[in-house]
């Protein structure tokens, strides 16, 4: 079986193809990673976040304006699934609050990326492990305006583990966009249970 690290290096590089149909390699890794319980959060006001969550099959929660209403769900998940993974595409403040709650259960950020629209420019700034940051950044760029779907498809193979995080940034120009979103995609898991 492919290791997660090998997969990230090889499969993420072929990201455009992965958008359409999962490759055999991806299917292989997903089969293994499907054993990992996953909880996914999304912002219910943002179109990009709605696009993202509509492509997620796992346990999910839509966030309105009061992130406090989701604390108990997160706590229960972390307690019941210490080997699990919590991910999302949310507002910055919601990620911050959930990250603070999750750390009490030993869940820490293994990946995060900001996605910022300004004029007709979309900027992705990825903070991830050294071996994955560049690949994820270029994958997001290549996905163009389908980046939320790309994220949804790859939530399960985002980095886990206790790596030093590095930051990579990319910008793309999109035609005919009038978006003002500033969203964060992120993934939390426990170091002790990798």
């Amino acid at each position: 079986m492919l290791s997660r690290r090998t997969f990230i290096k090889s499969a993420l590089a072929t990201n455009v193809a992965l958008l359409a149909t999962p490759s055999q390699a991806l299917q292989h890794v997903l089969t293994g990673s499907e054993e990992i319980p996953l909880l996914v959060f999304a912002d219910e006001h943002s179109l990009n976040s709605k696009h993202f969550i509509s492509n997620v099959a796992e346990r999910k929660s839509n966030i309105d304006l009061d992130i406090g209403q989701h604390f108990e769900l997160l706590r229960e998940f972390c307690k019941e699934s210490p080997r699990g993974q919590v991910s999302g595409l949310t507002r910055d403040s919601d990620f911050f609050a959930l990250e603070q709650i999750a750390k009490d259960f030993g869940f820490y950020t293994q990946y995060s990326a900001t996605h910022h629209y300004s004029g007709n420019t979309l900027t992705h700034e990825v903070s991830s492990s050294k071996d994955s940051a560049e690949l994820i950044t270029s994958s997001l760029k290549n996905a163009k305006d389908q980046w939320p779907q790309w994220l949804a498809n790859h939530m399960r193979v985002l980095p886990r583990g206790n790596s030093q995080l590095v930051t990579k940034k990319t910008q793309i120009t999109l035609a005919n966009t009038d978006q003002h979103d500033f969203l964060v995609s992120w993934s939390l898991s426990s170091n002790k249970h990798i």
């Binding site: 304006l65 406090g68 604390f71 910055d92 603070q100 750390k103 950020t109 300004s118 700034e125 790596s163």
Partner: protein, 522 residues
């Protein structure tokens, strides 16, 4: 990554102390990993170098006995600890220590609700109990009591009260509603204040002062001991509750509404602390800045006015509430309507017409002590928003309020930032909260925010204003503005510090109080 160390302490000494602490609490409750675990003990909204407030370790004791043992160890090595309850004091430093290398003493696991007395309306809680915890407990038991929570409400009761925090019900002055506490001193001595000092005490949660000097306040915004238990009064659930909001069209209406408020507040016609909230603060609940303005610098007035019209908000938005039996509320509301109705353009809003508006909904919850996190949405006003709060005290007087507002707005615009603020009328004063929001991913913007804050402290001091609470970065500067009679107040603090904590292990530098071995080095 190099391990941050306290001043004068070697890595060997730190490691030796940590090894001893691990024997007390267990390895699972000592956090050493700088990359993951200790990141959550840093301040994400710091305006200077992240390393300025980086801890070397954190430890989470589970009871008083463990605290006593930890303090004995750090006394031996002379390593400072920085006490937090839940660590959610964001905008003022969060869980981060005043200097690099301190060990964070995190009381999150001491989270027991020891007593809730429905008849007499009080609770006794440990430091790790959050507002959510106490609210949920009361709901589960079906008790007819309200809490008074901070906004946002994820913080702890003990932490917020000891920081002189405020809330939005008639019990909003949290320290005023505090009754009795248990404190562990630096040498491990356990002290009870108030009536719990008597044997078999039955009145610890009922009467604040006990016999002799009332010393509870000494342990707030200070570093003279570790608070391990606190009594807090709770408001009996009233038979009725009427929240209201008044939108005001003009900037100078701040003066009028403040002057009209004071007599209603001190005579208890308005029962809670009314708030006068500016347009941007209110708007940020439902829109982002870039939806109305993508240029640099503060949002122009023309864009602000459009936003106010779109969202049916005022340039100022005044919130208050009355509580009690129906006839009493009706009488009070008649007086309130008559009083504020005299302001040209003033428009009243109530639940029947405003429900569903994000700003209204969360204020209605706060004014009845229902915890929520909606105010945190403010941080999305700009993408990647960080904030520190500049919080001067003003007289509850129209001219004073306008003077502070104009001073801060002028400076914030000069430095390229929006004015985002609110005034909250206490018993005689106003807490003025200027939320200085910046792009925390921009080093240039962080520096500009830092410089603005520093000059605001001086500007305010020149006009005779001091701050009620502040961020780690500005504790010394603000302490310096409370300097009457050749720093007599701070000399007193330092005399107490030297006597109670001779090795200077408890939260050195908290609010500008330094132990003798670090004074002059800060």
């Amino acid at each position: 990554m190099t391990k941050p160390l306290p001043q004068g302490i070697t890595l060997g000494q730190l490691n030796a102390a940590v090894a001893e602490i691990e024997k007390v609490v267990g390895k699972d409750y000592v956090y050493l990993d700088d990359v993951k675990e200790l990141r959550s003990y840093r301040d994400p909204y710091n305006t200077t170098d992240d390393a300025d407030f980086a801890p070397s370790a954190a430890v989470a004791p589970q009871n008083v006995e463990q605290i006593q043992k930890i303090l004995a160890i750090v006394n031996n090595y002379k390593i400072p600890v920085w006490t937090i309850s839940t660590g959610k004091n964001f905008a003022y430093g969060g869980p981060a220590p005043r200097k690099p290398g301190y060990i964070v003493l995190d009381l999150k696991l001491m989270n027991k609700i020891l007593e809730v007395n429905e008849k007499h309306g009080y609770a006794i809680v440990e430091p790790g109990v959050s507002y959510y915890d106490l609210y949920n407990y009361i709901q589960e038991k079906g008790l007819k009591l309200w809490i008074d929570c901070a906004a946002p409400a994820w913080g702890g009761i003990v932490g917020n009260t000891s920081e002189h925090g405020a809330g939005y019900t008639p019990y909003g002055d949290h320290l005023l509603m505090q009754c009795g506490m248990q404190v562990v001193l630096a040498d491990g001595t356990i002290v009870e204040t108030g009536m719990d000092t008597t044997a078999n005490s039955k009145t610890g949660g009922l009467y604040k002062y006990g016999q002799g000097a009332a010393i509870d306040g000494l342990f707030t915004q200070s570093n003279f001991g570790v608070i391990t238990r606190m009594g807090i009064w709770l408001m009996p659930e009233p038979p009725g509750y009427t929240p209201f909001m008044i939108t005001l069209e003009n900037e100078h209406d701040l003066e009028t509404v403040t002057d009209l408020s004071l007599p209603l507040r001190v005579n208890q016609v308005i029962h809670n602390a009314p708030m006068t909230v500016d347009l941007l603060w209110e708007s940020a609940m439902s829109v982002s800045r870039s939806q109305y303005y993508t240029g640099k610098g503060p949002m122009p007035d023309s864009h602000r006015k459009k936003m106010a019209k779109d969202l049916d908000l005022g340039i100022w938005n005044y919130y208050g509430a009355v509580y009690g039996p129906g006839p009493m509320m009706k009488n009070n509301m008649d007086v309130i309507r008559d009083t504020f109705g005299s302001i040209p353009g003033a428009k009243f809003h109530y639940d029947d017409t405003r429900k569903g508006d994000p700003g209204w909904d969360y204020r209605v919850k706060l004014m009845k002590g229902t915890p929520n996190m909606t105010e945190f949405s403010l941080l999305n006003w700009i993408g990647g928003g960080g904030h520190i709060n500049f919080s001067p005290i003003s007289a509850a007087d129209g001219k004073s309020a306008m003077r502070q507002y104009e001073m801060i707005r002028k400076r914030s615009h000069e430095y390229g930032f929006d004015y985002i603020g609110e005034f909250l009328i206490g018993w005689r004063d106003q807490h003025h909260i200027f939320m200085l929001m910046f792009d925390r991913m921009s080093a240039e913007e962080k520096k500009r925010a830092h410089d603005l804050f520093a000059i605001l402290v001086d500007d305010a001091a020149a006009l005779g204003y001091g701050e009620y609470r502040t961020h780690l970065s500005f504790m010394d500067q603000i302490a310096g503005t409370f300097s009457w009679n050749d720093n007599a107040l701070w000399d007193t603090h330092h005399a107490l510090k030297d006597e109670l904590d001779p090795n200077g292990i408890l939260s050195p530098g908290k609010q500008g109080i330094w132990p003798k071995n670090l004074r002059g080095n800060s």
